[in-house]
C-alpha cells in the first residue's frame, strides 16, 4: 500500500506490548540535573554544545583577526594560532554539530515524533550526557595545562601531532585531546544505541517506518553511521595514545627530528589517515543527514505542502549513508596513498552527488506550488538550500581527483567545508531552534529579531566564505599563520582578508541577537498557541505544551497517515495531523493521479 494512503481505524495493528512503567523523578535533582527524561537531557546536551560552540566562535574571531590583520596582535603567535584553528575545528565538528544534532535534536524529537514516552534506555541516556559533559570539560582543561592545547590541526595527523615541533605535541595537549575524544565516543555510543533502538522498537501503533517524519529518518541513519564510524576514530586515538605514551610505532616510521634519531620505526602515517577519514567522511553525513531531515520538515510545514517525493527522500538518505563509507579516501588524493585509489574514490564520490542533488531538487519542488509562509524557520531553510548548493557543488571540484590536486590544502577547501558543513547545517540548527522553540518553552520568540538575526547571519556568512574560494584558487594555503611575501599572491588578497575578518566579527556579534532573543522570549515572550505552525507531526499533538513527563498523557497516540498530509483537497483545514482518524477527517485523501489510476483499473484497488 502506498505510504500516503491512510489506514482505516480497524486496520491499525494492536499494541504488541503493554506500557512499561516510566521512571519518575522524586526530587529536584533527579528531575533537572541527573534527569532521565530525554527532553531534559536534550536541553542539557544543547546548552552544553552551544556553550562550547561559543568558545569555538571566539577562537574563529581570533584566527580571523590574525589572518585579516597580521602582526597587529601580540598575543597571537604561531603557536597560539595553530592551537586556535585546531580547537575551533574539533569543537565545531564533534562537540557542537554532532552533539547538538544527535544528542540535542535526537533526544528531543525522536521519542516525541515516533510517539514514544521516552528513550528505551533512559538511564544510559542520562549517562551519555554526563560522559559528554566530562569530555567537554576534559577538552576545556587542555587550555590550562602546560604547553596548552594541541595545535596539530583538527585532523591530528601523526607524526607531527605527537612530536615537539607541534604545540602540545611534546606536552599534555595531544593526550588530553585523545582522551576527550575517547570519552566523547563512549558517551555518544550510549546515546546512539538509544536512538536506534527507540526508532526501531518504540514507535507507536500505526507509525510505520515509511510514515516517520524525515527528521527522524535523518537522525536515525546518521546515528547508525556514527555507531559504525566512531570506532575507527576510537582505535586511531588509542593507537596514537600508545605511540605517544608507550613508544609503540603504529603510525610512526623511522624519524629524524631536528637532527636526532627517534626510537620509532616501521609504522605508517597513512594508516592513521585511513582510519581518521573512515570516521571523518561519514562524520560529514552524521552532521548533514539530520540537517537534511530537519530542513525537509521545516520546508514542508512552512510551505504548507507535502514533502515532494517522500519515498525518494528516504532512500536518498539511506543511499547517501551507505555510500559515505566508501568515499573516505577522497580526502587523501595527495596523501601519498597508491594513486590508483584515485579512480575508485573519485567515481564513488561523484556518484554520491546524484542522491544529494535529488534531495535539493525535492526541497525546491516542495516550495513549488506550495503556500509559502516566510516565517523565520522558512527563511533559514531557504538560506540552507543556497549555502548547501553552493558548498555541495564545490565538493564536485574537490571530489574529482585531478581537480583536487591544485585545490587541496588551499583556502578553497576551507571555504568548501565551511559552506557545506559549517554554515549550512548551522542555519538548519538555528531554523530548527526557532521552529521548535514554542514547543520547548511554550512561548514565541520575537519574530522581528529573528529576521534581523537571519539576514545578518545568512548574508554575512555567505560573504565570508564565497571570496575564500577564490583565494584558494589563487593558491593561498590553509593553516598558514602568516602569508608573508610570495610572487603569486597580489596585495589585494590582504584587503580581501580584512573584509572577511570584519564580516566574521559582524556575523559572530549578531549571534548575541539570537541569544538575547532566546533568553528574553523564554521568560517574557508571548505565550504560544497550541501547534502554532499547524504541523501534522506528533510532537505538536501532545496534551500539554511543553510536553510533560511521558510525553502523551494517558494514552499514546495512534498514527493513521504519513507525516506530510498538507493541502489535501476538500479537508476542513490545510493539514491533517498524523493521529486524526480518517473517519474524523471525512475526506478522500487520495491524490488526483491515484484516483485516476484507480478508476482506470476499474474500481477498487
Amino acid at each position: 500500500m502506498a505510504y500516503f494512503i491512510p489506514t482505516a481505524p480497524e486496520d491499525v495493528p494492536p499494541a504488541e506490548l503493554g506500557e512499561v512503567e516510566l521512571y519518575h523523578a522524586h526530587s529536584w535533582i533527579t528531575r533537572w540535573v541527573f534527569c532521565q527524561d530525554a527532553k531534559v537531557i536534550a536541553i542539557q546536551y544543547s546548552l552544553t554544545a552551544l556553550a562550547i560552540g561559543m568558545v569555538a566562535l571566539v577562537l574563529s574571531w581570533l584566527m580571523r583577526l590574525q589572518l585579516g590583520f597580521p602582526e597587529a596582535f601580540d598575543f597571537i603567535d604561531a603557536q597560539a594560532y595553530y592551537q586556535f584553528i585546531t580547537m575551533h575545528g574539533m569543537i565545531m565538528v564533534i562537540y557542537l554539530l554532532t552533539a547538538l544534532f544527535l544528542g540535542g535534536f535526537g533526544n528531543y524529537l525522536i521519542p516525541l515524533m515516533v510517539g514514544a514516552r521516552d528513550m528505551v534506555f533512559p538511564y544510559v541516556n542520562m549517562l551519555s550526557y554526563w560522559i559528554y559533559l566530562l569530555a567537554v570539560l576534559v577538552l576545556v582543561s587542555s587550555f590550562f595545562v602546560p604547553g596548552g592545547p594541541t595545535g596539530a590541526g583538527w585532523t591530528l595527523y601523526p607524526p607531527q601531532a605527537i612530536l615537539s615541533g607541534t604545540p602540545g605535541g611534546a606536552e599534555w595537549g595531544i593526550i588530553i585531546m585523545l582522551a576527550s575524544l575517547a570519552l566523547f565516543i563512549i558517551g555518544f555510543t550510549m546515546g546512539g544505541l538509544n536512538y536506534v533502538v527507540t526508532v526501531l522498537q518504540a514507535r507507536t501503533r500505526g507509525m510505520t517506518l515509511m510514515r516517520m517524519p524525515l527528521t527522524v529518518w535523518g537522525i536515525f541513519v546518521a546515528t547508525i553511521l556514527a555507531l559504525l564510524a566512531f570506532p575507527a576514530l576510537f582505535v586511531a586515538a588509542v593507537m596514537m595514545g600508545f605511540d605517544k605514551l608507550l613508544g609503540t610505532s603504529f603510525f610512526m616510521p623511522a624519524i629524524v627530528e631536528m637532527g636526532a634519531q627517534l626510537k620509532y620505526g616501521g609504522g605508517s602515517p597513512i594508516l592513521f589517515q585511513h582510519l581518521f577519514w573512515f570516521f571523518g567522511h561519514p562524520e560529514v553525513y552524521i552532521v548533514a543527514l539530520p540537517a537534511f531531515g530537519i530542513v525537509s520538515d521545516l520546508i514542508s510545514v512552512h510551505a504548507r505542502r507535502n514533502i515532494f517525493g517522500y519515498r525518494m527522500m528516504v532512500w536518498a538518505i539511506v543511499i547517501i549513508g551507505g555510500l559515505s563509507f566508501i568515499v573516505w579516501a577522497h580526502h587523501m588524493y595527495v596523501s601519498g596513498m597508491h594513486p590508483y585509489f584515485g579512480f575508485f574514490f573519485a567515481t564513488t564520490t561523484l556518484i554520491i552527488a546524484v542522491p544529494t542533488a535529488l534531495k535539493v531538487y525535492n526541497w525546491v519542488l516542495t516550495l513549488w506550488r506550495g503556500n509559502i509562509h516566510l516565517t523565520v524557520p522558512m527563511l533559514f531553510a531557504i538560506g540552507f538550500i543556497i549555502t548547501f548548493v553552493n558548498g555541495g557543488i564545490t565538493g564536485l571540484f574537490l571530489g574529482n581527483a585531478v581537480v583536487d590536486v591544485p585545490l587541496s590544502d588551499t583556502m578553497f577547501v576551507v571555504a568548501h567545508f565551511h559552506m557545506v558543513m559549517g554554515v549550512a547545517p548551522i542555519l538548519v540548527i538555528m531554523g530548527a531552534i526557532y521552529h521548535w522553540f514554542p514547543l520547548m518553552t511554550g512561548r514565541m520568540y520575537d519574530d522581528r529579531l529573528g529576521k534581523v538575526h537571519f539576514w545578518i547571519t545568512f548574508l554575512g556568512a555567505y560573504a565570508i566564505f564565497l571570496p575564500l574560494h577564490y583565494l584558494g584558487l589563487l593558491g593561498v594555503p590553509r593553516r598558514y599563520f602568516e602569508m608573508g611575501e610570495t610572487s603569486f599572491i597580489p596585495p589585494s588578497a590582504a584587503t580581501l582578508n580584512e573584509f572577511v575578518t570584519v564580516m566574521a566579527l559582524i556575523v559572530g556579534f549578531s549571534q548575541l541577537v539570537f541569544i538575547f532573543n532566546l533568553v528574553w522570549s523564554t521568560f517574557w515572550g508571548k505565550a504560544a498557541e497550541r501547534n502554532p505552525w499547524k504541523a501534522t507531526t506528533l510532537e505538536w499533538q501532545t496534551p500539554e505544551m511543553p510536553p510533560g513527563h511521558g510525553n502523551f498523557g494517558d494514552r499514546l497516540p495512534i498514527v493513521y497517515r504519513w507525516a506530510y498530509a498538507y493541502g489535501i483537497p476538500g479537508a476542513p483545514q490545510d493539514y491533517l495531523p498524523q493521529n486524526v482518524p480518517p473517519d474524523l477527517a471525512r475526506v478522500d485523501e487520495l491524490p488526483e493521479e491515484e484516483k485516476r489510476h484507480k478508476a482506470a483499473a476499474g474500481g477498487h484497488a
Binding site: 596582535f73 604561531a78 595527523y157 607531527q160 612530536l163 615541533g165 605535541g169 624519524i255 634519531q261 602515517p269 515532494f308 517525493g309 595527495v334 601519498g336 594513486p339 579512480f343 573519485a346 561523484l350 542533488a357 535529488l358 531538487y361 525535492n362 525546491v364 519542488l365 513549488w368 506550488r369 506550495g370 503556500n371 509559502i372 516566510l374 531557504i382 543556497i386 564545490t394 564536485l396 571540484f397 585531478v402 581537480v403 590536486v405 591544485p406 590544502d409 522581528r448 539576514w455 555567505y462 571570496p467 577564490y470 584558487l473 589563487l474 593558491g475 593553516r479 598558514y480 608573508g484 610570495t486 610572487s487 603569486f488 570584519v502 548575541l512 498538507y566 493541502g567 490545510d574 488526483e592
Partner: protein
C-alpha cells in the same frame, strides 16, 4: 584594532535602529536617540576597558560591564520598537497584507541578488588562478568544465527558488498542490544529474590517469623535507639516484644516503638554496620526508603530493615557462609550517647545465667532512 572593529559593529547596530526608525514620527526619533545613546555608552565602556591596562583589572571589568549593558540596552530598544510597530499593524489587515507582499518581494529579490552576486563575483573579481607554468593545462580545463556545469545548476536552483517565493507566497484562499510524488519528473532529474556528473568525472579520470602515469623519459629529482626546510638531490653523471634511509642520517650525511651504494656518490646535493629545472623536460619529483608530513607545491605547476616519512611519493610535470617560482609547504607540519618555502628556477638547458656543474656532490661532501 580590536576595539575599533567591535566599535564599528556597535555603531552599525545603532545606525540600524536609526534607519529603522527615521521618518516614523516622534517615537521613531526617540528610539533613534535612545539607541545611539546606548550604543555610545557601550562604546565608551569598551574604550575604558581597552585603555585600562593590566594594572587596573577592576576598571577593565567595569568597562566590559558597561559595554555589555550598552549592547543589551540596544537589543532591548530594538525589540521594544518592533513590538510597537507590530502593534500599529493590527490596525488594518489590508496594510498587513501589503507589508507582507513587500517582504515577499524583498526576499525573492534578495535570493536573486545572492545568485547574481555570486556569478558577478566569479567573473568580475580580480582573484583567479595564477598563470600556469607546466603541462597541466588539462587540469585547468577540467576546472573550467566543472565551473560551467555546476554554475548552471546553481543559478537554475537559486532562480527557481526565487520564483517559488515570488509566485507561491502564502494566500489564505489558496492551498498547496497535493502531489506526494511525481516519478517521471524525479527520474528525469536523476538522469540529467547523472549526465552532468559524468560530464565532470570523465575528463577528471582521463586527466588523473595522465597525472599518475609518469613518462619514461622523465628525469628524477628528489625533494627532501624536514622541519622546516626543503633540500634537493639530483642524479649525478650516472643518471640514477642512490638509495637512502632515514636511519643513515648524520650531520655529515643529511640525506641519509647509503655509503655502500656507488650510484649515490655522484648525486648532487642542494641544501638551503633554490632548485633549478630545465624548461620543457618532464620531471619526476620524488618526495621524501624525514620527520613529519610535508608537501611540496608550486601553484604555477598545479601538481602536488604529500611527503610521508617512511616512504617515497612522487608526481610529475613538465615546466613550460621560465622564471622564478615560490614552492610552499602545503601540509601542516608544525609551528614553522607557514615559513617553510623555497624558490624554484626554471631556465633553458644551457643555463641549467652551467648551474648544475657548480653544485656539490655527495662524494665531495664526504671528502670535505673527512678533512
Amino acid at each position: 584594532m580590536t576595539v575599533a572593529l567591535i566599535g564599528y559593529i556597535l555603531i552599525l547596530l545603532a545606525l540600524c535602529i536609526g534607519f529603522c526608525t527615521i521618518g516614523r514620527g516622534s517615537r521613531g526619533t526617540r528610539y533613534a536617540v535612545l539607541g545611539s545613546v546606548a550604543g555610545a555608552i557601550g562604546l565608551g565602556g569598551l574604550f575604558v576597558a581597552a585603555g585600562s591596562g593590566p594594572q587596573s583589572p577592576r576598571l577593565h571589568d567595569a568597562g566590559l560591564a558597561l559595554f555589555a549593558v550598552g549592547v543589551l540596552a540596544n537589543f532591548y530598544l530594538l525589540k521594544r520598537y518592533f513590538d510597537e510597530v507590530e502593534g500599529d499593524r493590527h490596525v488594518s489587515a489590508l496594510r498587513r497584507r501589503a507589508a507582507g507582499r513587500a517582504t515577499k518581494n524583498m526576499v525573492a529579490l534578495a535570493i536573486i541578488l545572492v545568485g547574481a552576486g555570486t556569478v558577478g563575483f566569479h567573473f568580475l573579481s580580480p582573484w583567479w588562478w595564477t598563470p600556469i607554468a607546466s603541462n597541466w593545462g588539462y587540469v585547468d580545463d577540467t576546472i573550467i568544465v566543472t565551473f560551467w556545469i555546476t554554475g548552471v545548476v546553481f543559478v537554475a536552483i537559486v532562480l527557481f527558488m526565487a520564483y517559488c517565493v515570488f509566485r507561491y507566497w502564502h494566500r489564505d484562499d489558496r492551498r498547496a498542490a497535493y502531489e506526494p510524488e511525481n516519478k517521471k519528473l524525479e527520474w528525469w532529474l536523476t538522469g540529467l544529474t547523472a549526465v552532468g556528473v559524468a560530464g565532470m568525472l570523465t575528463p577528471g579520470l582521463f586527466v588523473w590517469n595522465q597525472f599518475v602515469t609518469v613518462p619514461e623519459d622523465a628525469t628524477e629529482v628528489e625533494v627532501l623535507a624536514r622541519q622546516w626546510e626543503f633540500a634537493f638531490r639530483l642524479p649525478g653523471k650516472d643518471g640514477v639516484l642512490g638509495t637512502s634511509d632515514a636511519r643513515n642520517i648524520t650531520p655529515e650525511n643529511p640525506f641519509g644516503l647509503n655509503r655502500s651504494d656507488p650510484r649515490g656518490h655522484d648525486d648532487v646535493l642542494i641544501e638551503g638554496a633554490e632548485l633549478h629545472l630545465p624548461i620543457n623536460k618532464p620531471v619526476k619529483v620524488l618526495l621524501r620526508s624525514i620527520d613529519v608530513l610535508h608537501n611540496f607545491y608550486v601553484p604555477e605547476f598545479r601538481a602536488k603530493m604529500d611527503m610521508v616519512p617512511g616512504m617515497i611519493t612522487y608526481y610529475w610535470f613538465t615546466p613550460t615557462r621560465t622564471g622564478t617560482f615560490d614552492a610552499l609547504c602545503f601540509e601542516l607540519c608544525g609551528i614553522g609550517h607557514y615559513a617553510m618555502r623555497v624558490k624554484v628556477v626554471v631556465e633553458d638547458d644551457g643555463k641549467y647545465q652551467a648551474w648544475l656543474t657548480q653544485q656539490p656532490t655527495f662524494a665531495r661532501m664526504l671528502a670535505q667532512a673527512a678533512e
